[in-house]
């Protein structure tokens, strides 16, 4: 990836962030209910005077036309100020940084689990394709991709937490004990997808002419598999890995809720329920940014790893 390409990708990321922030901002304007009233009363049913509401609305600049509010917000955001969350009574950025580690830990743990299962299972089932093992793997992964992850989470919680009493059922904190079930839930669902992708990628490479050639020249199957096929098959998988890791950072919300895992997804759902839109805005942008930066890194390393792209001078 040349510097020019890198710059254009970064510019693209900024444009997307701008677009997303505008969409979420516009949505907030369209949303029913009055965030100012909620800000004062919380979710309790207390009477708030109209003067009080108007005063706060003026103070927050929420009585200005939409576009000015957006520009105000944007002006502060580029300086790193994403506003104040009244739900947690902290600056948005501070809360984001507090919730981030839990999400990263969960994403890493489930990705490690996924790799440990998928890579061996996918490779073996491709090499022995048509065998009993292959059929079992395909059957299990099919089930895995058809189970909603939150139901899988609930079932695991019920079996391991309530029936067998092996693991705690109360979440809300980050520890090894509380990490196991959510990581397992996400890991199983992702491993099902990834195993299929590994299998397909390896099978595709095994059918290439160079494999036939290598066999004809009498190379051992082991040599062909480890030295020729796998390095080639791994390349497209790196992109998929990046995408699924990126998705984990944002898409694990449902599982985080099931296990009360205090990460970004959990925070996102809570902030929406409390209609704390400054926080919602911050989370959505932050997750989008992380996702795009990860993809950029993956693409850059991909260009570096694939000799075909290197030679073409890209």
């Amino acid at each position: 990836m040349t510097n020019k390409q890198l710059l254009s990708r970064i510019a693209q990321i900024l444009v997307v962030l701008l677009g997303i922030s505008f969409i979420t901002f516009a949505l907030v304007m369209l949303s029913p209910g009055d965030p100012v009233r909620q800000m004062i009363a919380g979710n309790e049913d207390i009477i708030v005077s109209q003067q009080e509401i108007d005063a706060l609305r003026h103070e927050l600049g929420l009585d200005k036309p939409f576009i000015f509010q957006y520009l105000d917000w944007l002006g502060r955001a580029v300086q790193g100020d994403f506003g104040f969350s009244y739900m947690v009574k902290k600056p948005v950025v501070e809360q984001l940084m507090e919730s981030l580690p839990a999400t990263v830990i969960l994403a890493l743990a489930s990705t490690v689990f996924m790799l440990l299962v998928s890579i061996p299972a996918g490779i073996y089932s491709a090499v022995k394709h048509g065998s009993v093992f292959d059929y079992v793997v395909r059957g299990l992964t099919f089930i895995g991709v058809s189970v909603p992850n939150f139901w899988m989470g609930l079932m695991l919680l019920w079996i391991f937490g309530l029936k067998l009493r092996l693991l705690p059922i109360v979440g809300g904190r980050v520890s090894l004990e509380t990490l196991i079930l959510p990581a397992l839930t996400l890991g199983i669902v992702m491993a099902s997808k990834f195993t299929r992708q590994v299998r397909t990628a390896v099978l595709e490479e095994l059918n290439q002419d160079y494999v036939v050639g290598a066999r004809a020249r009498g190379m051992s199957e082991n040599h062909i598999l480890w030295k020729e096929v796998l390095p080639n098959a791994m390349l497209p998988l790196i992109t998929l890995l990046g995408l699924s890791f990126g998705n984990l950072l944002g898409g694990a919300a449902v599982v985080e809720i099931v296990f009360s895992w205090p990460g970004l997804g959990y925070l996102a759902v809570q902030s929406i329920i409390y209609r704390d839109f400054q926080l919602v805005q911050g989370i959505v942008l932050w997750i989008a940014l992380m996702y795009m930066v990860i993809n950029l890194i993956i693409d850059a390393s991909y260009n570096h790893l694939d000799p075909r792209l290197r030679k073409a001078g890209r």
Binding site: Q12, I13, V15, V16, G19, I20, I23, T24, L27, V28, L30, S31, P32, G33, F142, I143, V145, S146, V147, P148, N149, F150, W151, L154, M155, L157, W158, L162, I169, G246, N247, L249, G250, G251, A253, V254, I257, V258, G265, A268, V269, I272, I273, F277, V280, I283, V284, I287, A288, Y291, M292, N295
Partner: protein, 276 residues
């Protein structure tokens, strides 16, 4: 259509899975006839009954019959997911065809927006949209449409670009065919099979996402017997009434399995290039 009928005769997987899809739809339609109880009728003295001869799947906190609710849920969940997939299919395909066929500025604008939507995780935006607009089935459908249409638009556009170069389309253009005529008679029939396959294989995934939004409280609202929402309600009674969580989840799982298998089989029937 003829291909589909031939497929039913020659492809056993397609015949079997189609039967199960029809069975599901039949169950959904017949729910009022087969359900032993009213899914919304609360009988407080029957709250939290474990599965028994009268209530096969037990009862919930309001004493409503879980079996009847799961049955009615089939109608509710199936119709909402079919509506969702249809909306995404129509909007995505239309935009993609328009972008591909007319090109120029329209194309640039549509595809730039599509690029933007595709470059970050959709689920979090779907949650934000559905949540901010306020939890309702319609808002959940809007949210998932906003984050999913791009897939169809890109696919439709790339296929239109390919078909446009084929001789019969060029001939139609040279012969002075109107855009409407060319689109309806030459382009759409050629891209539709693959678009339909894509939509059919997406039903399962969309069902899970829609149920996920309902589970978070950003989709269907009580007292609707929607499976995702039932899981949300059942979750709070995991300890005392696990049947409230087990059966709706099982229903989603079975439905998704059936539609995923059916989607795969349909692909085999409609798309001869694809080989196993």
């Amino acid at each position: 259509m003829q291909t589909l009928i031939n497929g039913l005769k020659t492809n056993r997987a397609f015949a079997v899975t189609s039967f199960f899809v029809l069975l599901l739809i039949a169950v959904a339609l017949a729910a009022p006839l087969i359900a032993p109880y009213d899914p919304l009728e609360a009988t407080m003295q029957n709250a939290y009954l474990a599965p028994n001869a009268d209530h096969w799947f037990g009862t919930d906190k309001l004493g409503r019959d879980n079996f009847s609710r799961v049955l009615y849920g089939a109608a509710y969940s199936l119709s909402s997911v079919l509506l969702l997939v249809t909306v995404i299919f129509v909007i995505g395909t239309t935009l993609g065809v328009v972008a591909g066929y007319f090109g120029g500025k329209v194309d640039v604008v549509i595809m730039r927006v599509a690029d933007m939507m595709i470059s970050f995780p959709g689920m979090i935006l779907a949650i934000a949209i559905a949540g901010i607009l306020g939890g309702s089935l319609i808002n959940a459908i809007i949210a998932l449409t906003v984050v999913t249409w791009t897939k169809y638009a890109r696919l439709a556009r790339s296929m239109v670009l390919k078909v446009k170069k084929r001789d019969f389309v060029e001939a139609a253009i040279v012969n002075g065919g109107t855009s409407t005529h060319i689109l309806w008679k030459h382009i759409l029939p050629n891209i539709l099979p693959l678009m339909v396959i894509t939509a059919a294989s997406d039903i399962g995934a969309m069902m899970m996402e829609l149920a996920g939004l309902s589970f978070l409280g950003f989709g269907s609202q009580p007292p609707a017997p929607e499976w995702g929402l039932m899981l949300n309600e059942g979750r709070q009674q995991l300890q005392t009434a696990p049947w409230l969580m087990i059966f709706p989840g099982l229903a989603i799982f079975i439905t998704v399995v059936i539609f995923n298998l059916w989607g795969d089989a349909l692909r085999d029937v409609l798309d001869p290039r694809q080989e196993e």
